[in-house]
């Protein structure tokens, strides 16, 4: 971005947001959005490790048919924790809370978010929820699946009430963050930073924030009703008391479908940044991408019923939901083609962040087309609640969101910490994760087509070989993430000093020093052009 920001030569002794204040207390009471971003980073990555271990356990158990290491009840708990942790504690907060917190103010040339205190509060609220969730591990566990479907979740003897409260509390945190981001984007843009000069990452975070504040309250109420149902037997969902268990599904998916976009839109934003930066080319169709984010956010409120084609909902409802779901496919396709055209006649290099971005395109293409197969109502009747769905949403959530998160972390790492990591090893992590991912999840499409239901502790022998392949793939993914942990830790301890703009990117955050000072910019930036002016 050709901004009139000054970037003087910085010496290593310079004051920045990391070394300006010292001591643990200065971290836990910091109102600096960058430090709060790091707090989120440490907590979310830790939860990711926990959720990942549960995932490995699932795959280990499914290596062969029959009981291997777990009892059926233990398996159901492991499967529930994997889902709940990954959704509520990793993928939903992931990109917005870590990268959004850190780079939203930087990319729009602001000193901080609009409400710094609220920002710190949301981290504490998030941690409170997370701790309650972790406590259930020691106080009865849960086995409902992350979807908490009634009436099973009303009847089960496990600590479901507590887990529901935890998800409720984490939802609060998500609402607070969303609110903060929306106000920040509207109020704190630097002079000259018009809405159509903000980077696409900001558009994505902004659309996500809108979804967060509109959809999450519905989840909150639903979960609260479920908790009341369990403790007082109010009879909203329990058929024995005249309630309707399917109503819960409507409520739940009214949040959780938009939540799918809460998880994927930020990833799309990151990928737009990466592709522009590493192709050294202006993004193709800036407005189309920006508006398709908004479009997706809007339509996503009206497609929840596609999770319920076989739940007993009426034929008309099924058809309308199938139709609307097809419509969400269009803006998604538009984005894919825009990224592709950005590569056209670019000047492309393949550093690790770009590898993750290209990996995203690859996996998201597969996740997208299989999404259409699921939106098609007749095929969905066969695929619904089989491993086909499991494979599909892992292609979108892991292949999409996690690939983007990894790419984003590698891309902005030099800015966040002022250090460089070992590029060769970073590329190796990509290779391991990418190959491992496909080995793990591609066979699951076939398993689903063959009819293997999801949430299965045991399966018929016909499904064995594909399950074994899938398990082997999960070890590759595990190695990949362990290696990235190593790459990050060694870079933090002994990485070379990074320059202010190692990738030659044009967005504002690269105009300040690495790491940035407490107030982000040495001189308030004035913006005179769009975010991707590679001329």
């Amino acid at each position: 971005m050709s901004a009139s920001t000054h970037t003087a030569s910085h010496t290593s002794g310079e004051v920045n947001y990391i070394n300006e204040f010292k001591g643990l207390k200065s971290w836990f009471t910091s109102l600096d959005h960058k430090r709060i971003g790091l707090l989120y980073m440490i907590s979310v990555l830790f939860f990711f490790l926990v959720g990942g271990l549960f995932a490995l356990l699932i795959r280990l158990e499914l290596f062969k048919p029959g009981a291997q290491y777990l009892t059926p009840d233990q398996y159901n708990q492991v499967m529930t924790y994997h889902g709940a942790i990954m959704v509520f504690m990793v993928i939903v907060p992931g990109i917005p809370a870590i990268l959004g917190n850190f780079f939203l103010p930087l990319q729009i040339g602001a000193k901080d978010v609009a409400f710094p205190r609220l920002n710190l509060t949301s981290w504490y609220v998030f941690m409170l929820g997370a701790i309650i969730a972790i406590c259930t591990l020691f106080l009865g566990k849960i086995d409902t699946g992350w979807t908490f479907y009634t009436p099973y979740s009303i009847k089960t003897g496990t600590a479901a009430t507590m887990m529901v409260v935890a998800a409720f509390v984490m939802g609060m945190s998500s609402i607070l963050t969303g609110l903060n981001f929306i106000v920040t984007v509207h109020k704190l843009r630097a002079p000259g930073m018009t809405m159509f000069r903000i980077p696409l990452f900001i558009w994505a975070i902004y659309s996500t924030a809108v979804l967060q504040i509109l959809a999450t309250p519905v989840l909150g109420i639903t979960l609260l009703l479920l908790a009341m149902e369990r403790t007082f037997g109010v009879g909203i969902f329990d058929p024995n008391l005249g309630g309707d268990p399917v109503l819960f599904q409507h409520f739940f998916w009214f949040y959780s479908h938009p939540a799918v976009y809460i998880m994927i839109l930020p990833a799309m934003g990151v990928v737009s940044e990466l592709i522009a930066a590493f192709s050294r080319k202006t993004i193709f169709g800036y407005t189309a991408i920006a508006f398709s984010s908004i479009g997706i956010a809007a339509v996503s409120f009206f497609v929840w019923g596609h999770h319920m084609f076989v739940s007993g909902q009426s034929e008309v409802a099924g058809i309308v939901f199938s139709f609307l779901t097809m419509l969400v496919g269009v803006p998604t396709a538009i984005k894919m083609f825009n990224w592709l055209s950005t590569l056209y006649r670019g000047n492309i290099s393949f550093e690790s962040p770009m590898l993750f971005a290209l990996g995203f395109l690859f996996l998201f293409a597969i996740g997208g087309v299989t999404g259409i197969m699921l939106a098609t109502i007749a095929t969905d009747v066969h695929f619904h609640d089989t491993y086909f769905v499991v494979a599909h949403f892992h292609y979108v959530m892991v292949g999409g969101t996690l690939m983007a998160l990894m790419g984003g972390l590698y891309y902005w790492f030099p800015k966040m910490f002022g250090k460089m990591y070992n590029e060769t090893l970073a590329r190796l992590t990509f290779v391991l994760i990418f190959i491992g991912f496909n080995v793990t999840f591609f066979p699951q499409f076939i398993l689903g087509a063959m009819g293997m239901p999801r949430r299965y502790f045991d399966y018929i022998p016909a499904y064995q070989s594909l399950n074994s392949i899938s398990t082997i793939g999960s070890w590759l993914i595990g190695c990949g993430f362990l290696l990235s942990l190593y790459v990050i830790v060694t870079a933090l301890r002994s990485g070379e000093k990074a320059s202010d703009n190692p990738w030659g990117a044009k967005t504002l955050e690269w105009q300040t020093s690495s790491p940035p000072p407490h107030t982000n910019f040495h001189v308030e930036p004035v913006v005179t052009a769009g975010p991707y002016e590679y001329k």
Partner: protein, 318 residues
């Protein structure tokens, strides 16, 4: 549509045993082929561009293209058309699935943790077995005793949740003889993955004969019912009841009320609950002189009625 047979789609799917299943296969094949083409364009294009426009030097100029209205129109419009086609096609098939034929053979199926119980019009009841005649419209009326289950027959490409507190239904018309799996696809607790039933498609004659025998059978005195079940469930291969001869397992002759020595060194009295446990969970207590793990568990394979009948039969052997 011979070209569809070439698509590998149906190869990975279980045999299509209804006409509707074949229609779903055709649609799926179309989806697979168009998805494959879309992926070749997207992923192939990405790889091609990445290779062609690889960075030669940092300062090399990249093109400055902000948008292209015609292209953007094309790649919004073409996907939209394809999406609408598959939507309509899917609707067409789904409409047939939801259009219940008149005069269908009706079977009530109830999901419960963790078995499928079927009840026929004549009063015949089965556990984890739905037997139907070939080339006949069959309507399954679903209910649930406890939590939500989902009745799924992969070979028929049909699935419907069984929801407590209301009825739901599916129908099919099988055109192939054979045994097909019934899976539960809605998570329902501990034995969710063990809730597997058998959907057996037989000829009309065989079906009528079976139904008649079952009906007769259901009016038998309970101990005689147990005797029949003892044969059907193959208990008789391992246990004798008429005399004390030992087969694979201990004889059950004069067993009820006796004392049983266990490998654990304890002994236990044989009552109804001991028999129940020995059948449902045979490895809980092992009879002295026999190995653990030989007798399979019959958990989920016997209905409550059947279990009582077998126990009455064992009690009658004195």
């Amino acid at each position: 549509m011979f070209w569809m047979q070439y698509a590998f789609a149906s190869k990975f799917m279980p045999t299509a045993a209804t006409d509707q299943a074949s229609q779903v296969n055709n649609l799926y094949s179309f989806l697979l082929i168009s998805s494959f083409i879309a992926c070749v364009i997207l992923i192939g294009g990405m790889i091609y561009f990445a290779y062609k426009y690889k960075r030669q030097s940092l300062t090399a100029k990249s093109a400055y293209i902000t948008h292209n209205t015609f292209l953007e129109f094309l790649w919004s419009f073409i996907p939209l058309v394809i999406f609408l086609v598959v939507f309509g096609w899917g609707w067409h098939i789904y409409h047939q699935m939801r259009q219940f034929p008149k005069d269908a053979l009706e079977v009530h199926v109830t999901g419960k943790q963790w078995a499928w119980e079927a009840t026929y019009k004549s009063g015949v009841r089965t556990a984890n077995l739905v037997k139907v005649p070939i080339d006949t419209d069959v309507k399954i009326i679903l209910a649930s005793n406890d939590v939500i289950h989902s009745f799924y027959v992969p070979s028929f490409r049909i699935k419907q949740d069984a929801v407590p507190g209301r009825y739901t239904a599916v129908w099919f018309n099988a055109n192939k003889l054979g045994d097909f799996h019934i899976f539960c696809t809605e998570y329902c607790g501990t034995q969710h993955s063990g809730m597997i039933g058998k959907l057996q498609v037989v000829s009309r004659e065989e079906y009528d004969k079976w139904l008649e025998e079952e009906a007769k059978f259901s009016t038998l005195p309970i101990a005689q019912k147990g005797e029949k079940l003892f044969q059907i469930k193959a208990c008789s291969g391992c246990h004798s009841v008429a005399d004390a001869s030992v087969k694979v397992g201990p004889s059950l002759f004069k067993k009820f009320g006796a004392k049983e020595e266990l490998t654990s060194g304890d002994s236990t009295g044989v009552d109804e609950n001991y028999l129940r446990e020995s059948i449902l969970n045979p490895n809980a207590k092992i009879v002295k002189g026999f190995a653990s793990g030989v007798m399979p568990s019959f958990q989920g394979q016997l209905s409550e009625d059947e279990l009582s009948a077998i126990i009455e039969y064992i009690k009658s052997a004195k």
